[in-house]
Amino acid sequence: MRSMPDKLFYTVVITSILIAIVIIFFVISVIRYHKRYIQLQKERIQAQIMIQEQERKRIANDLHDSLGPMLSTVKLFMNSIAVNNDTDRESLGKASGYIDETINNLREIAYNLLPSSLDRNSLEMVVNEYIGRMDSRQPIKITFNVTKETVIPKKTEIHLFRIIQEIIHNTIKHSGARSLKLAITSLPDGLFLVSEDNGRGFDPDNIRAVSGGLGLKSIENRCQMLDADFKIITAKNEGCKMIIKVPVNS
C-alpha cells in the first residue's frame, strides 16, 4: 500500500508531465505549421512570378510579332503614296517619323518585358546591353562588373536580371544619383549581387509604409524565390547600398 505523501508526489509528477507534454506539443505544432505556412507563401510567390514572366513573354511577343510588322507595313504603304502637294508631303513625313518613333518605343517596351537574348547570351552581356540602352537617355553613369570565374546558374539569371532592372529603374526614378555601381561576385558561401549609388538615400520602413514599396517588395519576392538574403544599407543623403546573397545550392 502506497503512503499518502508518495501518492501525492506521484500524482503531481504525472500531472505535471502531462501538462509539460501539452505545452511542448503546442510549441512543436506552432513551429510545424509556421514552416508549412512559409513554404506555402513561397510557393504562392513562385506561382505569381511565373505567371508574371509568362504574361510578360506573351505581351512582348504580341508587341514584337504582331504590332511591329503591322506598323512597318503601314509605313511602307504611306511611303508608296505619291503626293504632289508640299503640305501633304510634309504631313506624311511627320506621320512616318511618328511611326518610326512608335516602332522604336515598341521594341524598347518588348525588350524590357522580355530580354530574349538571355536565352542565348550570358547575364553579363544582357545587363551590359540593357545598361547601354539606358545610358544613352539618362544622366546617370551605370557600371556593371562580374568577377572572373563567376558561374551564374541559368535558372537564377532571369531573377537576377529582373532585380538589376528594378534597382536601375528605382535609382533613376527616385534616388537622384549620378552614378550606380553594380557587381556580381562569387564567394564560397554564395553568389553576391551588390549595388551602390550616390543618391539621396531613403528610409526603407518609411517607403514601405507610405508608398507600399512595390519596387522593394518585388526585389524581396525574387530574393525569397532564390532563398537569397537581402540587405539594404541606406540613410537620408547617404546613398543606398544593396547586398543580395544567393546561396550556392539555390
Partner: protein, 221 residues
C-alpha cells in the same frame, strides 16, 4: 449555499442548449455532433441526479458518459479537420480510447467505482487535437478567429480538459486529504459554467447553410 451554487452552476449546460435551439435552422450540419453532445450532457446530469438518489452513486453514468463524450468529440474534431487523410488517425484514436475504456471498466470490473485513468487519457488526447486544430486555423484561416466557432469551442475544450486532468488528479488524491485538491475539485463547477458560456458563444457564431451558398458542397455529409 455552496451546494445550491454548485447545483445552479452544473445546470449551466442549458444555456448552450437553448442557444442551439434558437439558432438550429441556421447551424450547419457539421456542428451537429457537438449539439448532440450537449443534449447527452444534459441527460447525463439528470441520470446522475436520479442515480445518486436511488443507488447512492453516479459512477456508471459518468463512465458511460465519458466514453460517449470522447467518441463524439473525436468525431467532431475529425469533421472540423475536413480531410479524408486524417480518417485512419481518428479511427485509430477512437479504437484506442474504446479499448482503454473496456480494459479499465469491464476487464478490471470498475463500473461502480470512480477511476481517473480513462478520463485523464482521453482528456489528454482531446487537448492535443484541439491545440493542433487551433494552430492550423491560426496559420491558414483568413477570418477573425474570435468569431470563429471552431476556434472558440477548441479553446473551451483545451481549458476544460486540461482542468479535467488536474481535477481527476485531485480526486485521486482525495478532497479530504488535501485542501488544495479540495479547492480544485470545488472549482470544477465554475470552470464548467465558464465553458458552457464559451460553448454558447461558439454556437452564437455558428453559421452555415443559409449564410454561405456554397457550404452544402463542402459540408453536405
Amino acid at each position: 449555499m455552496g451546494v445550491l451554487i454548485n447545483f445552479i452552476l452544473s445546470q449551466a449546460i442549458v444555456i448552450p442548449i437553448i442557444m442551439a435551439l434558437i439558432r438550429i435552422k441556421k447551424i450547419d450540419k457539421i456542428y451537429y455532433p457537438l449539439l448532440i453532445l450537449l443534449l447527452i450532457g444534459l441527460l447525463s446530469e439528470l441520470a446522475s441526479f436520479i442515480c445518486i438518489n436511488v443507488f447512492k452513486t453516479n459512477a456508471p453514468v459518468i463512465k458511460i458518459y465519458s466514453l460517449v463524450e470522447c467518441c463524439i468529440i473525436l468525431y467532431q474534431l475529425y469533421l472540423w479537420k475536413n480531410g479524408a487523410r486524417y480518417r485512419p488517425m481518428f479511427v485509430m484514436l477512437g479504437l484506442v480510447c474504446v479499448i482503454f475504456w473496456i480494459v479499465e471498466t469491464i476487464v478490471f470490473k470498475n463500473m461502480n467505482t470512480f477511476s481517473p485513468y480513462f478520463r485523464v487519457f482521453y482528456a489528454f488526447i482531446i487537448v492535443l487535437l484541439s491545440i493542433n486544430q487551433i494552430n492550423a486555423m491560426m496559420f491558414y484561416q483568413n477570418v477573425s478567429l474570435l468569431k470563429n466557432p471552431v476556434f472558440i469551442i477548441c479553446l473551451a475544450f483545451i481549458i476544460f480538459f486540461l482542468y479535467q486532468i488536474i481535477y481527476e488528479a485531485s480526486y485521486f488524491i482525495g478532497s479530504d486529504k488535501s485542501t488544495v485538491a479540495n479547492k480544485i475539485i470545488m472549482g470544477f463547477s465554475y470552470i464548467n459554467f465558464f465553458i458552457n458560456l464559451m460553448c454558447a458563444a461558439g454556437i452564437y457564431f455558428m453559421g452555415g447553410s443559409k449564410d454561405d451558398p456554397y457550404s452544402h458542397y463542402f459540408n453536405g455529409r
